[in-house]
Symmetry: C2
Subunit: 200 residues, 2 copies
């Protein structure tokens, strides 16, 4: 199945990116002058380690399905589980894109910024491609429980921002310790438990 | 099975916490004066929404296992899958703890800080309890593939920091735009693909 081959390539590529990303971020952690900065980048890297751990299991499995042409013979339950696993990595790609974008605000040297941005653009393409593949797989196996494939970016203006440009502005502010808004109980948008369906 | 009842309580509690956390963070996003701050808190909240989506499926499933005493009759494959799902939420609890800790650095008012910290302490207890439950379940069903239960905190000094105290210090620096370390290819610690086993 062609899709398995494509998924294998995408997940192998992002696995390599995690390694390059860690090479860029680890020195920031090592040189951090305060606990907040250390915690912030440690946290991002830890989440990528968790994703790497999942990919280390998923990539060989997808590879075995591809090589032996076994994907067509999966039971409904196996296919449903596979779609669920792929969906988790779809979110993983989306979150990685944001980790890359957040990191753009840390660096001033063009070489690092270009590397982060090229990984960001490639990751976004892979994210969209995974969405298409999942739609095709769900379509073909219509009996299987289909994950909600609503574009993760929908309804969030922040995803339309050019963070390469925004992060190069000298007026860029820091994260944390901003003019703290009150922890009001009002003003939330669509984040009640009941209203989350279809948000992502 | 007593464990199912405990897991149901833990995951229900953290589901409620996500809602309270969103109430605290959404106003920060709405009031953000720059794209970096908006992206940062949007990203944290989006990851919690993803976790909420998973919990919305897992909680009723665990509840059904608990009510019908069906956990003992799961097949090896079903149990293995259940352990894998629980393990993902174990990471989710750990990451939520860090989201709470990162947010401590945003707020100065005691009421919000105490709420964040109490959720942080409770979340850490729940994280450790889930680890114990997984060990017990793996022990009982010895044929099943066991997830690596190494404490996620091991080897990371950052988890030993008292972030409630650190975040109250006036010397706390911002995240991002710190004294940027060079993106050196050296100085990384244990983050090669091959060395990740047992890190978490």
């Amino acid at each position: 199945m062609q899709e398995m081959s494509q998924l294998h390539a995408i997940f192998s590529r992002t696995r390599g990116y995690i390694d390059r990303f860690a090479e860029i971020i680890q020195p920031i952690i090592d040189a951090a002058q305060d606990e907040h900065t250390r915690l912030y980048y440690h946290h991002i890297l830890e989440e990528e380690e968790q994703r790497l751990g999942r990919l280390q299991e998923l990539i060989p499995y997808i590879g075995s399905l591809d090589e032996a042409k076994k994907a067509e013979q999966l039971s409904d339950r196996e296919l449903s589980r596979l779609l669920s696993d792929i969906n988790l990595e779809r979110f993983g790609l989306h979150n990685f894109r944001e980790h890359l974008e957040l990191s753009l605000y840390e660096f001033k040297d063009e070489e690092t910024r270009q590397l982060l941005n090229s990984m960001r653009e490639s990751t976004q393409e892979d994210y969209l491609r995974v969405k298409e593949i999942m739609a095709a797989l769900s379509e073909r196996f219509s009996d299987v429980h289909r994950p909600d494939l609503t574009d993760h970016d929908e309804g969030y203006d922040i995803h339309q921002v050019d963070h390469l440009k925004a992060s190069s502005s000298p007026a860029v502010a820091n994260t944390g310790k901003t003019a703290a808004a009150p922890a009001a109980k009002t003003g939330r948008k669509g984040l009640t438990v009941g209203s989350l369906k279809g948000m992502f």
